[in-house]
């Protein structure tokens, strides 16, 4: 059992507030992804959980034990680093066995675990090599095997795939997902790549400027962003935003289109994902600027009310730059945000 509870953890580097009062609970065996742009504090939070950084305030609990004053080795964690951190003076075998030897496990147990995790990560044939003789992808596998062999309560991963090339990243992503699901270990995974987050996570904690903006399942984070930032950060191409003015209670003017919306507020921002619009009469008037046929669909960048607006259309719609389209947002996919606070309004 290794539930992780983070209670109002804050971190300050000099005058820079890296984390402001973070609260987060990661359930036992859950795969939690910390997602956010660089500098949002996600790596700092991970390092605080690992014990490599001391929080300025707050508490960290792992499996019912308060750990924020304990050194990393007493926290029951294993970590995979961005640059792999495979020890260059040891062979792959010795690297994987390193932590097990520190635990003074019997020789046979160590050997069995090293071979098992190595075969799990498909590096059995590399056990006698040194890190200098491995490719980036192989080093990554060694780093993951080394963490898994520890059989920790919690595995922490700091952008483990960011140094791999695109194709290898895709392959490793799928493999990591399978291996970590099978190991049933609580995992916290830091990334700035939303696709990685969506594909791996049970839940995603979206972070921005030292705060957690939303914690939800990938689908919910995508469908129902809790804040304008989440909508704009997740999704490629990102969500479209149009400033709406109030006509009457629950009626809004969106770039000349009359739409039903929340009853509250004077000004709101209308938001819809590019794939949630249909070409039909009686919609937003859009002047097409750029057409990008992407194979399965066509990405159209148009102008609505003088602002850029992206739409993902089926390939059956014939459009060319200069065309005028009428785009009807799907009623159940329209979201509204407060332009002042950025919070979602219902």
């Amino acid at each position: 059992m290794a539930e992780i509870v983070i209670k109002s953890v804050a971190k300050r580097f000099g005058s820079f507030q890296a984390l402001r009062a973070i609260d987060l609970t990661v359930a036992d065996r859950e795969f939690m992804v910390l997602l956010g742009p660089s500098g949002c504090g996600k790596t700092t939070l991970l390092r605080i959980i690992a014990g490599l950084e001391t929080p300025t305030a707050g508490e960290v609990w792992i499996g019912g034990r308060r750990v924020d004053r304990l050194p990393p080795r007493e926290r029951g964690i294993a970590m995979v680093f961005q640059n792999y951190a495979v020890f260059p003076h040891l062979t792959v075998y010795e690297n994987i066995a390193f932590g097990l030897r520190m635990k003074r496990l019997p020789r046979e147990t160590i050997d069995e675990r090293v071979r098992r995790t190595a075969s799990l990560m498909h590096i059995e044939q590399l056990l006698t090599r040194y890190s200098g003789q491995l490719s980036g992808g192989q080093r990554q596998r060694v780093a993951v095997a080394r963490a898994l062999a520890m059989e920790p309560d919690v595995i922490l991963m700091d952008e483990p795939l960011s140094n791999l090339d695109a194709l290898l990243r895709l392959e490793m992503r799928a493999e990591l997902k399978g291996v970590l699901e099978a190991s049933r270990t609580t995992t916290i995974y830091v990334t700035h790549d939303q696709v990685e987050a969506m594909s791996l996570a049970d839940r995603i904690a979206v972070m921005n400027e030292g705060e957690i903006v939303q914690v939800s399942t990938p689908v919910e984070v995508y469908r129902d962003p809790a804040a304008r930032f989440v909508g704009s950060f997740i999704g490629n191409p990102p969500m479209n935003f149009i400033t709406a003015t109030r006509l009457a209670d629950g009626e809004w003017d969106v770039a000349g289109l009359r739409l039903p919306g929340p009853a509250a507020g004077e000004r709101l921002e209308f938001a819809v994902r590019p794939e949630d619009v249909d070409v039909a009469p009686g919609g937003l008037r859009a002047v097409v600027r750029v057409v990008e046929p992407l194979g399965p669909h066509t990405l159209v960048t148009a102008e609505v009310g003088g602002r850029p607006f992206r739409a993902v259309l089926g390939t059956d719609v014939a459009v060319a730059p200069g065309d005028e389209l009428s785009l009807v947002p799907k009623a159940d996919r329209v979201r509204w945000f407060d332009p002042e606070t950025g919070a979602a309004v219902r």
Partner: protein, 289 residues
């Protein structure tokens, strides 16, 4: 991405580019010449000294000279049995070894601290470490000698080793600082998460990786002490180190004995460097043999 064609060159015929192999051959010649020159710079003086040390006194002063030694061990035998030489040699080794231990024992932790921690006055500390070399030894020698006599450190190997340590420590601290900075902090952090204390992570991960550099730094401290004459001559009387002893006695000795003394000074340093050469060149994963 498109590859832009190189702009057409309106070169005059005599300006025609030379073939790559011709340029390569010239570069190769320069390279080999430089290597030969550098080797000669080191080897020729040592060779000449050896030839003279291994020749009989008559051959040393004779002309024309032979470049093959006659392996007359007379000069060397006389030198070795000369009163005080053995003791001076032992003193030199002792002082150099102490200097090596002290300068690394104090300099390496300083280098580690400089590379791993941020503390107030870090830049000033780095400057001050180098500043210790700004005071000329002759200036310090007299007060030092007085101070040493008062504390009873005069004419001891430890006293001299302390002075030599002061000379060697800036290099030890700065060399180890750059060595430790070359080891990613992530490696240490990985060791901590794998069950190491800070100290265990240091000796299981960092130390094996910096050992070649530490060896180089140790050799350097050894040589600094081995070659130092001034402080040794001022601060010791009975327990002279070899250089100090030779300066004092060989000044008035015949030429062949000077060569024998020179050889006795150079050979131990050469042997020591030879012994640690593996560490000087070794790279992890691709150990050179």
């Amino acid at each position: 991405m498109t590859v832009r064609p190189a702009p057409a060159e309106a070169a005059a015929p005599e300006d025609a580019p030379r073939s790559v192999t011709a340029v390569g051959a010239a570069g190769r010649f320069l390279f080999v010449a430089a290597v030969v020159l550098l080797c000669a710079w080191v080897i020729v003086p040592i060779y000449l000294m050896m030839v003279n040390a291994l020749s009989s006194p008559r051959e040393v002063t004779a002309f024309p000279k032979s470049f093959v030694p006659s392996f007359d061990l007379g000069s060397l035998r006389f030198f070795v049995t000369f009163a005080g030489v053995a003791k001076a040699l032992w003193n030199s080794v002792l002082v150099a070894a102490l200097t090596m231990l002290l300068s690394l024992g104090l300099g390496a932790p300083a280098g580690y601290a400089l590379s791993r921690f941020d503390f107030p006055g870090k830049e000033l500390f780095r400057l001050l470490v180098v500043m210790t070399r700004a005071f000329p030894l002759p200036l310090l020698a007299l007060p030092l000698a007085v101070f040493f006599i008062r504390t009873g450190l005069d004419d001891t190997a430890l006293g001299l080793a302390i002075v030599h340590t002061v000379l060697a420590i800036p290099f030890a601290a700065l060399i180890t600082y750059s060595l430790f900075s070359g080891i990613p902090l992530e490696l240490e952090e990985a060791a901590w998460t794998l069950g190491c204390t800070r100290w265990q992570a240091f000796y299981k991960v960092v130390l094996p990786l910096v050992l070649p550099g530490i060896a180089a730094s140790a050799v350097f401290a050894f040589i600094v002490s081995w070659n130092e004459v001034f402080a040794a001559a001022v601060l010791t009387i009975q327990n002279r180190t070899l250089p100090a002893f030779l300066v004092q006695s060989l000044n008035v000795s015949p030429l062949h004995l000077k060569f024998a003394g020179g050889a006795a000074l150079v050979v131990p340093a050469l042997v020591f460097i030879f012994a640690v050469r593996r560490y000087l060149f070794a790279m992890w994963g691709i150990a050179s043999r």
